[in-house]
């Protein structure tokens, strides 16, 4: 056993390092529940910002919801927005300081419920911002109530017999709706439940920031996520539940990658 320990200690040397936490992530303990997807997405954002070398030029807008304390964990400039208003705040920051990289980070209760108007109009205006949308189909922070994205039949604390279409309507596929807007440059849906999915999501977030640099419209990245506390499952079972139930309703992949629409298509013919 001591031979094995020696061999492990031989490997654990700085020159053999292949992965370490990004220096942008500080040492504060994240307040998220065990297995929460927020932590993975925070790390991916930090890694993308670090790799692009834009730490000094990036401003994040944090939401109301579980990710309200995102500003405690990533060492960049942050602004906290009122509930649902992150795209409006990000619009203001980007217009005053167009050379900065601005992104909003929102959950489904923030972006798809109370902030639907701000979300749609920011994308419709084609604001040159990145919007990151964490969709876990539930209100996690307040105790697992039904969200607009909750699946039909899904049990939450406000739908104890499952979401009923007659009473509560249908799950809101907001990413599909946003992909139809002419201002959207890049709209994609990803997930973070496996190492491969994490790497794809990182590429998508990096692409979104690069699109912001080109100033060709809004880049929107949805991350289908888990809420093991809200769903009342273990983190591993949450991932299985997400694959079985969320992915058929929220299929992964790029929905739009064309840049903002040409204004001439929308211009009036007669003067």
């Amino acid at each position: 056993m001591s031979v094995l320990t020696d061999r492990i200690n031989e490997i654990i040397k700085p020159e053999n390092l292949v992965y370490a936490k990004s220096p942008l992530l500080n040492d504060d303990l994240m307040h998220y529940c065990p297995g929460c997807s927020h932590g993975v997405v925070h790390r991916l954002i930090a890694e993308v910002i670090e790799e692009m070398g834009i730490q000094e030029q990036t401003i994040g807008v944090s939401p109301v919801g579980c990710a309200v304390f995102a500003y405690n964990y990533i060492d960049i400039d942050w602004q906290e927005a009122a509930h649902g208003r992150a795209p409006a705040v990000a619009t203001g920051i980007k217009r005053v300081m167009p050379e900065k990289y601005v992104f909003s980070y929102q959950g489904d209760g923030d972006l798809a419920a109370i902030g639907t108007a701000e979300t749609f109009h920011a994308v419709n205006r084609g604001e040159n911002i990145v919007m990151i949308f964490i969709n876990n189909a539930i209100y996690g922070m307040t105790g697992g109530q039904m969200a607009p994205t909750t699946l039909v039949g899904q049990i939450t604390s406000t739908t104890p017999h499952g979401r009923d279409v007659d009473l509560n309507g249908y799950p809101l596929r907001i990413t599909e709706l946003l992909a139809q807007l002419p201002g959207a440059a890049y709209v994609t849906r990803q997930s973070v439940q496996t190492p491969g999915a994490v790497r794809k999501t990182k590429k998508a977030i990096r692409k979104a920031f690069e699109i912001q640099a080109k100033k060709i419209g809004t880049a929107f990245v949805e991350v289908v996520s888990t809420c093991s506390s809200g769903w009342k499952l273990s983190p591993v079972d949450s991932n299985k539940w997400m694959e079985e139930n969320m992915f058929p309703q929220y299929p992964l992949g790029d929905l739009k990658d064309t840049g903002r629409a040409d204004a001439e298509l929308y211009r009036i013919k007669a003067k």
Binding site: L29, S37, V40, P195, N239
Partner: protein
């Protein structure tokens, strides 16, 4: 015994024992410890360190960024 090619270091006090790294590991290196950390979580550790190839799958899925991965390069 297989050649040791990789090693992971888990920050025991940060780990919340979510088990995602254990499931993500393709060579069954990681497991949850019987002991608990300061917060009462069964933290992840290398149960079969000789199998580790330093693939970084565990660090990719870790929500709390508490895994550091080392790999020995170009060794037969």
């Amino acid at each position: 015994m297989a050649k040791v090619r990789g090693a992971v270091v888990v920050d025991n006090d940060v780990c919340k024992g979510c088990n995602l790294c254990v499931v993500a590991c393709p060579t069954q290196v990681l497991a949850l410890n019987r002991n608990v950390n300061n917060k009462g979580y069964h933290y992840s550790y290398m149960e079969n360190p000789e199998n580790c190839n330093g693939c970084t799958n565990c660090s990719a899925v870790c929500p709390d960024s508490c895994i550091t991965v080392y790999r020995v390069k170009a060794e037969a």
